[in-house]
Amino acid sequence: MRKISLDKLNQLFAEIASKNSLYIPVDTAAGAKYEKYDGTQTMSDALNTTRSAKDFFFPQTENLVDFKVEGKNIEIKEPVNEYEDFVIFGARACDVKSFEILDRVFLADPVDNFYKNRREHGVVVSMACTKPAETCFCGTFGIDAAAPAGDIVCHKTADAVYFDAKTDKGAKLLESLNALTEDTDSAAVDAQTAQTREVLKKLPLAGLDASAFGADKTMEFFNRPEWQTISESCLGCGTCTFVCPTCQCYDIKDFNTGNEVKRYRCWDSCMYSDFTKMAHGNIRNSQVERFRQRFMHKLVYYPTNNEGIFGCVGCGRCMAKCPVNMNIVKVMRKLGGNK
């Protein structure tokens, strides 16, 4: 385990940024967000960024291929796929877990090369939480906010940041910073972890239990009458899906610039009425079906296809951002017998 005193943290950032693109969470008037480190910013202490960290590997829009139309010929232009190495600093346990959930979709056969490429070029430096919010419920899905995963795991105390490399990629990066960091034992980290775990137990959503849901429960939940009432308030916007770190649906569209056609993909939302629209029309014609889809996917379908792992990481963004405060916790309470 390595440590660096807080006052030298910016030196460390500068060092990383000199070799890779470094992204750190920065406070803005509109909440914390990841920004490319340019030597001027200081790291945010906010619990989490407004948008999730999935953008690094699965950006909202991404060009796939261009077609150049010249007279009556069409030339196909493959996109350039060389991404620079980059480092994400300060991802929380929930967001780090979301990468694993996305990996299971994008890296499974057929592999999504765009995602894979970004994933291989990115180093995730996670940050343990110390002050989780009332909307946090990562524990429900077995995530330990005090001990996140990641290539390097950090703990920030009052005066220092502690680093623990968990992967080869992480070890390599950490080693390159040895000149700035010093070796240390884990006493301070252990103390903080223990303290955080006490806090986690007292969170209002600490008792939220997902065990009623999980793999192979489709028939148990699909036709439950409660979907009708809880979906009533849903406006059908895409806020929950777009702030969600694990939502992975996208649409592929063509944009004709007049000179060429750009084929790109962009996030889509199962809450939208034209989601998965096909020649015959839509699959899910009412908002109740669309609403059910989203939560069934997180709580039942995803676990069914992924050894019981839930498709939610309990980051609480949807709770904070839903225009009408309808969210997965309310769904779990209503359908899963949670009180």
């Binding site: 610039t257 000179n259 750009k262």
Partner: protein, 145 residues
């Protein structure tokens, strides 16, 4: 657009069929020159012009958009240009509010008898837009050549 190192603006002019398009024809009949950068699109009435068309033109690379219609009171459809006037007053004011250069958009009333006014208007508009340079604030980078 840069032509031989010189900036040549791209201007889209929407002209109503009854007055301004005829005014542009009259400019032609009288051989009154104006820059070839001006490309005219014929619409039945200035009120047919949707703000979306104007934004579309900027997106696709126009540097200026001008709307020409019958003089107020002379609309072939009696009141179309009155609506145009309100719509464009509000739209242009909004574009200005967003920091888009106000010289890039214009509404001008040109009658079928005003060939000279049409040419003069276009000359002036092209000059103003040329002075502004390329449209950077409402451009779509994907549409750049």
């Amino acid at each position: 657009m840069q032509v031989n190192g010189e900036f040549k603006p791209l201007i889209v002019a929407f002209c109503c069929n009854w007055c301004s398009y005829a005014g542009a024809d009259l400019a032609g009949n009288n051989r009154l020159n104006y820059p070839a950068e001006v490309k005219i699109i014929r619409v039945p009435c200035s009120c047919r012009v949707n703000p979306m068309f104007i934004l579309r033109a900027f997106q696709r690379g126009a540097d200026g958009v001008i709307l020409c219609g019958c003089h107020p009171g002379d609309c072939h459809y009696t009141s179309g240009n009155y609506y145009t006037r309100r719509r464009m007053a509000l739209l242009f004011s909004m574009l200005d509010y967003l920091g888009i250069e106000k010289e890039r958009t214009r509404v001008e009333w040109v009658s079928a008898a005003e060939g000279a006014k049409f040419a003069a208007t276009m000359n002036d508009f092209v000059e103003k837009v040329t002075a502004l340079g390329e449209n950077k604030r409402l451009e779509d980078l994907r549409c750049k050549k």
